[in-house]
């Protein structure tokens, strides 16, 4: 009876763990990298209106939250800077749009580029995305994108792996006819992210790379704790599965409990059912020679 109950409980637990695991993984994939019970940095449109100005260097970069579209009116040739927080386990994509007003006459094609720097002002490579694009004289707007590597919670000092913290976006024109320098443009920047469901979860945690010599940059709900990863669920679920498999295999190998011993002989010494015995793990309590005599 106890074995049956144990097995049932184990199966329930395994089912629960797996049930919890799959939706968590799915949720992570679709929305954010953070667990469902901790604050989501992407849902932040709340407190402030989207910024309408851009900074002109790292020091003055405008703070914008992920998922919020920051806009700025500027002149061709300006270096436009924004900064946004990115947390562990996020796959961040920076989208930038340059819109050319119809009032200004352009004399030739211009090449635009979006660069992303981490909190230590190290330039981050784009895994993919149109980072540089050229707009002809007839183009009304230009789309740029940069897909960063997964944000990690720890990296060796000698690597430039992206760590959680501030990320700077720089949008500028790389090449344009000198007659078009200083022409008005409209720029828009938006950073979005999706989770990795613990695929890239590494050990260790570096304090968020945010400089104290600038505005406070943090996800609207604060930095997510680094104790969480769906790996807990996978590993725990695996353990439960192992226990369930062990119990099942044990029962299978030992054979049916009550079906064997009973016809042979009733248990001596008041044992009402002989079959009760094998269910107890061997080597417990009574010494082997203790019964049957």
């Amino acid at each position: 009876m106890r074995t049956a109950r144990l097995l049932g409980a184990a199966a329930l637990l395994a089912a629960a763990a797996l049930g919890a695991l799959t939706p968590a993984a799915l949720a992570d994939d679709t929305a954010t990298a953070v667990p469902t019970d901790s604050p989501t940095p992407t849902a932040s449109a709340g407190d402030d209106a989207p910024p309408t100005e851009a900074g002109t260097d790292f020091r003055t970069a405008t703070v914008v939250q992920q998922g919020v579209q920051a806009t700025a009116s500027a002149s061709a040739g300006d270096y436009l800077y924004w900064q946004f927080p990115a947390d562990t386990g996020q796959n961040v994509t920076v989208h930038a749009t340059v819109t050319f007003p119809s009032t200004a006459t352009r004399h030739g094609p211009s090449t635009w580029q979006v660069d992303v720097y981490d909190g230590l002002r190290r330039r981050q490579p784009c895994r993919y995305g149109v980072q540089t694009a050229t707009a002809g004289t007839g183009t009304a707007s230009l789309q740029l994108a940069c897909h960063l590597r997964t944000i990690r919670s720890y990296a060796e000092p000698w690597s430039d792996d992206p760590l959680r913290g501030t990320y700077y976006v720089r949008l500028t024109v790389l090449d344009l006819p000198s007659t078009d320098l200083g022409q008005p443009i409209q720029a828009a920047v938006k950073a979005t992210s999706e989770g990795t469901a613990g695929r890239q979860a590494v050990d260790g945690s570096v304090a968020p790379v945010v400089t104290a010599n600038g505005p406070r940059v943090a996800p609207s709900g604060g930095w997510a704790g680094t104790w969480w990863s769906p790996r807990w669920l996978w590993t725990a679920g695996g353990g439960v599965l192992a226990v369930a498999a062990a119990l099942g295999a044990h029962r299978l190998a030992r054979g049916p409990a009550s079906g064997r011993g009973a016809p042979f002989r009733p248990a001596p010494d008041g044992y009402d059912a002989y079959g009760e015995r094998p269910r107890r793990p061997h080597g417990e309590g009574r010494p082997p020679g203790d019964y049957g005599d």
Binding site: L13, D37, S38, E53, T56, D57, S73, S75, G77, Y79, Y117, G119, L120, R121, R122, Y154, P157, V173, L174, L181, G182, Q183, P184, G198, A201, V202, D203, G204, S205, A207, T211, A212, N213, G214, P215, R216, A218, G222, S229, P230, R231, W234, T235, G238, L241, A242, A244, A245, A246, A249, H250, R251, A253, G255, G261, F264, R265, R277, H282, P288
Partner: protein, 424 residues
């Protein structure tokens, strides 16, 4: 029973997690930086030279477009901004270049703004004389001296400086004084020479250049630039790096500015306590025309010359600067372990065409932070935990094998006991 126990354990874990979650953000949050206390100062420098009478901005003369723009801007100056107006070429109509090149006047002093007085003063202006941009910039920089707030100069002109000094050099000279003055320039229907000169002035001081073709554009841009003066960015502290580490200045966490000439290396020192992580980021700005192909190197070196960590970044083409950053986590140690003196070296490999002046040097911005050092991870993976269907399969398989073995063992023992019982 078991399930109830597990549930209890689970909820305890949940509470712990919630606690940890509540505690973490506060400990991780960076300190609120100190905002500059002073009042921001802005001076508008308006060209009133003869060419401003040309009627080519939305059918109006450049002068009247500028006047209307000034009226709008004066109406919307943010609270707490001290605004002044300076003119150039407003007074001397003659042909003597010497006199014409000194013609700059403060029309309205930098201070608390009386909108009516300022507007009345602007209304009197008539396009008159020369375009002495250089002297006007010098005088305007003088007007903005004093105080702790940000300083911004907005230059509106329609022609290049035809006087002796190159205003671009003047601007760079002003910038190198370290008073944190930004010059934004606006060109009204500019020709090539004017555009080059104005963009050079803006580049030299970290400002922006705008081409103006419509009155509305002039108004909105000047408003935007005046509003920028209220930005509360941290003002860097001026410092001077040395040629060797031994002579280098000792820096505390903060933001520093310096100048280094082309292909120069500069050294700084930082004390790092055990259990602290040093974070340094350096930006070398290109404030003048530089050759394509450049780089910046940032190194942390021990007192004895061993390199700890380095980062270098290079690039080609148009840029406002190149930056590099390093982290140096110093492991935790026993109490009483002295702080380590870490030398920071900032080098650059910028070069310039021979026509470009190499002094003053390129602006360097160095940000130094000290935070808690992370503990060394014991495993590559998160807490050594696994993930994926292979892991689950392996664990289930292991469990199954163990179950089979124990099952067979107990079956075998049962059988031997039964047999021995039967034979007895």
């Amino acid at each position: 029973m078991i399930i109830r126990k597990l549930l209890a354990v689970g909820s305890a874990c949940g509470m712990l997690a919630a606690l940890a979650c509540g505690l973490l953000p506060t400990s991780a949050a960076a300190d609120e930086p100190g905002t500059p206390a002073g009042t921001p100062k802005v001076e508008l420098v308006l060209d009133v030279s003869g060419s401003m009478s040309a009627k080519d901005i939305d059918g109006q003369s450049r002068m009247s477009a500028a006047k209307q723009a000034f009226d709008d801007v004066l109406d919307s100056v943010p609270q707490g901004v001290e605004l002044g107006i300076r003119t150039l070429g407003a007074d001397y109509p003659g042909n003597d270049k010497k006199v014409g090149c000194k013609d700059t006047r403060q029309l309205y002093p930098v201070g608390a703004l009386n909108r009516d007085q300022a507007k009345a003063a602007v209304a009197t202006l008539q396009p008159t004389g020369w375009t002495p941009i250089g002297p006007a910039l010098l005088a305007a920089a003088d007007d903005l001296k004093g105080g702790e707030g940000s300083r911004r100069l907005v230059l509106i002109t329609d022609g290049e400086d035809t006087c002796a000094a190159n205003p671009c050099d003047v601007a760079r000279q002003i910038a190198s004084q370290g008073i944190g003055l930004t010059i934004d320039t606006l060109g009204l229907i500019p020709n090539t020479a004017t555009r080059d000169q104005l963009s050079c002035i803006a580049e030299a001081t970290g400002g922006t250049y705008t081409t103006v073709q419509h009155r509305q554009q002039l108004t909105s841009r000047v408003k935007q630039l005046v509003d920028r003066s209220t930005d509360t960015a941290v003002t860097p502290t001026a410092t001077q790096g040395a040629d060797t580490c031994a002579a280098a200045p000792l820096l505390k966490p903060g933001l520093y500015s310096d100048r280094e000439t082309f292909s120069q290396n500069r050294w700084y020192r930082v004390d790092v306590e055990p259990g602290q992580e040093l974070r340094a980021a350096a930006t070398v700005s290109a404030d003048r025309a530089v050759n394509a192909g450049y780089g910046v190197l940032l190194r942390a070196v021990t007192r004895h010359g061993r390199e700890i960590v380095r980062d270098d970044e290079s690039g080609t083409g148009r840029t406002d600067g190149v930056s590099a950053g390093i982290r140096y986590p110093k492991p935790h140690a026993d109490d009483g372990t002295p702080a380590e003196e870490v030398c920071l070296e900032i080098g650059n490999s910028f070069s310039a065409p021979p026509s470009v002046k190499t002094t003053p040097g390129l602006p360097v911005e160095l940000s130094v932070d000290l935070v808690d050092s992370p503990h060394q991870p014991h495993d590559v993976a998160f807490y050594g935990l696994g993930r994926g269907w292979w892991l689950l399969g392996l664990l289930a398989l292991t469990g199954g094998v163990v179950g089979l073995l124990t099952g067979w063992t107990s079956r075998w023992r049962l059988n031997t006991r039964l047999d021995s019982g039967r034979t007895r």
